[in-house]
Symmetry: none
Amino acid sequence: MRSPERREQIVETTLALVAKYGVPGTTLTRIASAVGVTTPALYAHFANRREILLEALEVLIRRRSTAHHLVTEGAPLERLREIGHRHSELVASDDTSVLALFEFIAAGPEEGLRETLGERHLGLLDELARIVEEGQEDGTIIRGLDPQQIAWMMVSRAWTEDIAALMGISHAWNQERSNQMLELILDSIAAPTREETPPTE
Amino acid sequence: MRSPERREQIVETTLALVAKYGVPGTTLTRIASAVGVTTPALYAHFANRREILLEALEVLIRRRSTAHHLVTEGAPLERLREIGHRHSELVASDDTSVLALFEFIAAGPEEGLRETLGERHLGLLDELARIVEEGQEDGTIIRGLDPQQIAWMMVSRAWTEDIAALMGISHAWNQERSNQMLELILDSIAAPTREETPPTE
Amino acid sequence: MRSPERREQIVETTLALVAKYGVPGTTLTRIASAVGVTTPALYAHFANRREILLEALEVLIRRRSTAHHLVTEGAPLERLREIGHRHSELVASDDTSVLALFEFIAAGPEEGLRETLGERHLGLLDELARIVEEGQEDGTIIRGLDPQQIAWMMVSRAWTEDIAALMGISHAWNQERSNQMLELILDSIAAPTREETPPTE
Amino acid sequence: MRSPERREQIVETTLALVAKYGVPGTTLTRIASAVGVTTPALYAHFANRREILLEALEVLIRRRSTAHHLVTEGAPLERLREIGHRHSELVASDDTSVLALFEFIAAGPEEGLRETLGERHLGLLDELARIVEEGQEDGTIIRGLDPQQIAWMMVSRAWTEDIAALMGISHAWNQERSNQMLELILDSIAAPTREETPPTE
DNA sequence: CATGAATGAGGGTTCATTCAT
DNA sequence: GATGAATGAACCCTCATTCAT
């Protein structure tokens, strides 16, 4: 197998294993045997275990970022809502890869992945903040609000969803609750429209 | 050293190590050497590593629960605000033990601690929900709202604070931002008072 | 509890454990917890683990020796037969203590019990040989035979029974087969009687 | 070193150690250091300690079975005698591997090797019984006897020889005694020939 | 007579990694 | 690009034993 394909295969396999066993449980032995090669073979494509995990993390971040950019239709407020909904659906579905992103925190400080994860998350926040700014520019979102603040609250909701799933208490923090939180956030930033607040003559 | 003290010492040491190295990095060797005994000595007080971690987790939960109950003054709304503030201060301080609670998710699914953590968290949620209910009973919090929903959002904010600290991006999600989110939540549930909504002439 | 009773209790417990787990599996922890005391308490009655096992072995040998002496009725040949039968019945029964004697070989050379076991077994052989000699003196057993040889064959049969039981193949070497071997041995040593070999006149 | 050779070397070393230290005393550390590798290296060739021991046991059984099949000359009765003699010589020699087979009972019930040993022993018994049957077919062994019974008695004699050696009392159960037992068994099954039993006029 | 606390030695096993092939 | 063989470090855990109390 060609190098690029093999690399991708290794990363994909790693993601699946991370979602299933967590980062500490994603050993080279497991990766290798799932890929169908021997352990040392992995070293032909990556310098060490950490590099594999980092690349997997990168892919995950890129994927979530793409998810943000894929939502292009509608007003900024609508797009934020859509992004929120899609996340909820992913978590609810069997696609564990969403949770995998969160598992990387689970690596523990020793793996040295948290810092990278932090940086990347800031990037994701920026993307959300950018949408908020668009809304402020076209007047659909209240000006004067801090876009970063909004972005953080969106992320906060998403994380809660993830964590609840990881802890196995999704029954208590279900999609409906998550939705309500989303609406609270969006309501608090939506600029008043003519229809909603008729001029008090 | 007598057993009860030793047990406590082991647990306390474990908590410190979990905060520093994460759960996977909290090995028996590290615990023992930090306590100042040999590894097998730990087995005189706990059946195995898992039991030590579980007890540490229990202590952590109990501690946070106590933090809830310690806030007894003021109206329910005020107490929720106070609980929120205290959490922020803890995270901001060097007392890493708050984060330790979160590290237990980091153990990975294989350690079998997540389920326990989930159950205990539901308990913490109930405590917060109870305060909300009190507010609803005395009319300071809007009736008709789901107390669990409010509790979850409070927890959501706290988790975000934790995660940001774990990822080393507390500079971006600082105490001020956290506060703003808290106020958003509390504002949304506060029952309108005479002063706030002057009678429309 | 008084020392002598405690000693006996420890030894009895040890025998039961040896029968169940084998000598290597009979740890001090197991003995102590079965007796209902702590491990160091055993050292108040025995110098070390080896001493406990040795005493247990001694008891076992004494018990088998007693079994030989209990059979006092009938001609020597009959007594040998009876001894053989009783052994078969013991093995067939659930009284695992017979097998325990054999487990001591299982201790491995490192436990240093085999030599003791060997010596004691020579004693048991002598007892059987003595019965043979009696028979030779009163003319019911062929003179000129080596009593030790007969004793060994008796023991050989008994051991085979034990080993088959230990290996879990008693279904193949059952009581009937064991009996047939016993009869072969006894037949070969029985002195011809008048009735059996009538004069060919 | 290549895997097949290494495997064989490990097994051979294990056999020597089992003969010397017994099964419980045959630790991975000992095996590894005797082989000249580190402990984890053994795991490249066997799944775990038990697999090593099982393979060693298998080799031992195969070897004894081969010993049976190597004796092909002479009448069945003669072959049984020869097999018996060879066993005696092996035990008398310094080739401790014969005893190793017996050490596997010594593993104690916990190692889970006894059952395997039992099964394999039944196979060995069948081989001996087969020879007896041949003798019955060509008329040199009394018909009507149960071949399995004879096989068991042959094995019984061999085991006794082994055990005596293990216990260090070979001086009491020496080759001569063992021989006498063998002759007793063979005599009891030999079919009468013309020469031996002259026709009664 | 017994305990509670601790130890040193060693058990089997897994891990990430290296290197010659 | 991949393998097979091996390593060193570390893992959790159990053992028999000691000693102050």
